[in-house]
């Protein structure tokens, strides 16, 4: 797991109070008991701050698993890094 994923999983685990051993890429977000909208918005805002990215509302449509959320952050963080490097 790379540094970005480690941070994403750490933020999800801390915010939604999920033990690290229960978090995996195939875990459905809806299956997490604390994953109501205000908690997920908290996750999103923390991730945005951590990686200096913006996650568009529409990009969260259809995200079913923790792994899919991680992949979205990976893409946006990579785009941000590329933009900074230019």
């Amino acid at each position: 797991m790379d540094d970005v994923s480690c941070e994403v999983y750490r933020i999800i685990g801390e915010t939604l109070r999920v033990p690290p051993e229960e978090l995996g890429p195939d875990l459905p977000i809806r299956a997490i008991p604390n994953a109501e909208s205000i908690k997920m918005l908290t996750v999103i805002l923390k991730v945005e701050k951590q990686f200096d990215i913006e996650i568009p509302d529409e990009a969260t449509f259809g995200l079913a698993t923790v792994g899919q959320f991680d992949e979205l952050v990976q893409i946006l963080a990579a785009e941000r890094a590329t933009a900074i490097a230019r």
């Binding site: 809806r30 909208s37 205000i38 918005l41 908290t42 805002l45 945005e48 913006e54 509302d57 259809g62």
Partner: protein, 138 residues
């Protein structure tokens, strides 16, 4: 007419913590007008929380969760007499139109550290008398 209903309740303090997370948090969830209205009113935390509940209640009434919904595409404005009303734009407005919504009723309430909102949508049925489906976006 068919009725769709959504309700939400939140702790005012939790919404406050959400908005304190980053400089961008407020404009991530609320329109510029909502931020201005809430900050001008006394006890802005309660007003932010009530508006948050309204957006969430609307998303539930639309049959959707938080995912993919434009938080700033649903705006709460106060009438001159203080009654709240919903203004929608963009994709949220398109969903409301697709569902045949003819009227929106909104009620917001607070007590202690709690805020809640109830949103009722009166929808015209399709020509077969059935509820219309919200269009999928993307």
């Amino acid at each position: 007419m068919l009725i769709r209903h959504g309700v939400d309740i939140e702790a005012v303090s939790e919404v406050r913590r959400l908005l304190d997370l980053s400089a961008r948090a407020k404009r991530r969830v609320f329109t510029a007008r909502e931020v201005e209205d809430c900050e001008r009113a006394g006890d802005s935390d309660r007003h932010f929380a009530g508006r948050f509940c309204t957006k969430e209640a609307l998303f539930k009434a639309l049959g959707r969760g938080w995912q993919g919904m434009g938080w700033t595409e649903a705006e709460v404005r106060a009438d001159p007499d203080g009654a709240p009303r919903l203004i929608t734009t963009g994709r949220v407005k398109a969903m409301i139109e697709a569902l045949g919504v003819r009227s929106v009723a909104l009620s917001i309430s607070h007590t202690g550290d709690l805020a809640m909102a109830s949103v009722v949508l009166l929808c015209a049925p399709d020509r077969n008398g059935r509820a219309r489906a919200a269009s999928r976006r993307r």
